[in-house]
């Protein structure tokens, strides 16, 4: 049944490429769609996994990689912290089911972030638990890099959350 998801995603991206000329527009669209999914998916994730609140960005990044990715895509990216401040993390995917049937990007679509939807999902989900973050693709196998790497940068300090609580 994962095939249908992968094929549907492919069709979605293909259609967006027909609708928009510029790669950047397609990327933005994918990110926006992903955001809409993320703000809803987070509650499904929390309801089903019954995880406790994460106490640090590091725990949050681990949670995304080990529990959420596993639950929804069946893969477990590895996590590494890429800043001394402790608010930048990388998720390295060596297997990405969404690109199972994609060899490489066509020449005219060289700056397309094929899986940008995922970035939007992560960003939307984090926002709903009051964590502002920037999520982008740092490396992409489809573009010839060795691995696929998603970078998450948490924007606000965790302590600020206390004042934002409802």
């Amino acid at each position: 049944s994962r095939e249908l998801l992968v094929l549907t995603y492919g069709a979605l991206v293909a259609q967006l490429c027909k609708d928009y000329e510029k790669d950047e527009d397609v990327n933005i669209c994918l990110d926006r769609m992903g955001y809409g999914i993320g703000v809803r998916l987070i509650d499904d994730f929390l309801a089903r996994s019954a995880v406790k609140k994460c106490r640090s960005y590091s725990e949050t990044a681990d949670m995304i990689a080990q529990v959420a990715f596993k639950m929804y895509l069946g893969v477990t990216p590895s996590v590494s912290c890429s800043s001394a401040a402790g608010n930048e993390f990388s998720l390295i995917l060596d297997k990405n089911p969404l690109v199972d049937f994609v060899e490489e990007l066509p020449a005219e679509r060289a700056s397309l972030c094929y899986c940008n939807l995922l970035c939007g999902v992560i960003r939307g989900a984090l926002e709903m638990v009051h964590l502002a973050a920037e999520v982008t693709f740092l490396q992409d196998r489809l573009k010839g890099d060795a691995v696929t790497e998603i970078g998450i940068t948490f924007l606000r300090k965790a302590e600020d959350r206390k004042h934002k609580r409802n």
Partner: protein, 161 residues
Amino acid sequence: VGHAVLAINGAEVNGRFTADGKDVLEFLGNPANYPVSIRFGRHRLSSNEKLMLASMFHSLFAIGSQLSPEVGSSGIEMLETDTFKLHCFQTLTGIKFVVLADPRQAGIDSLLRKIYEIYSDFALKNPFYSLEMPIRCELFDQNLKLALEVAEKAGPFGPGS
């Protein structure tokens, strides 16, 4: 006593009349209609009352978690009175699920978690439901009703949290 007639022979009752316009007292006064099964219960809150309750509780909840002597309090989980118990479950996304139940009713914690699942399935996954709006999803109502029935049947001796 504060209880009202909620249903007769399975048909819902609204005030003095049933859903198909029959007068309840008339119906009950006619021996030809016996035997009859009547469901009593607390009066259902009107939408307005629900909104008032929710907004008052929301503020109380916020004040409660600030005032708490325990550091890092997660807010009001239960409010107990003589006639009812109010249970509240706040998700990590800030959504509060509030259940008003009989003080002796058990298994409310698992009910709250079940309601969270039902919400995330039938409300959130419905593409036509907008966040923060009243939930008018048929499937959500149906599944919620089922979950409530299960919890009610469990009664005072139901499974614990």
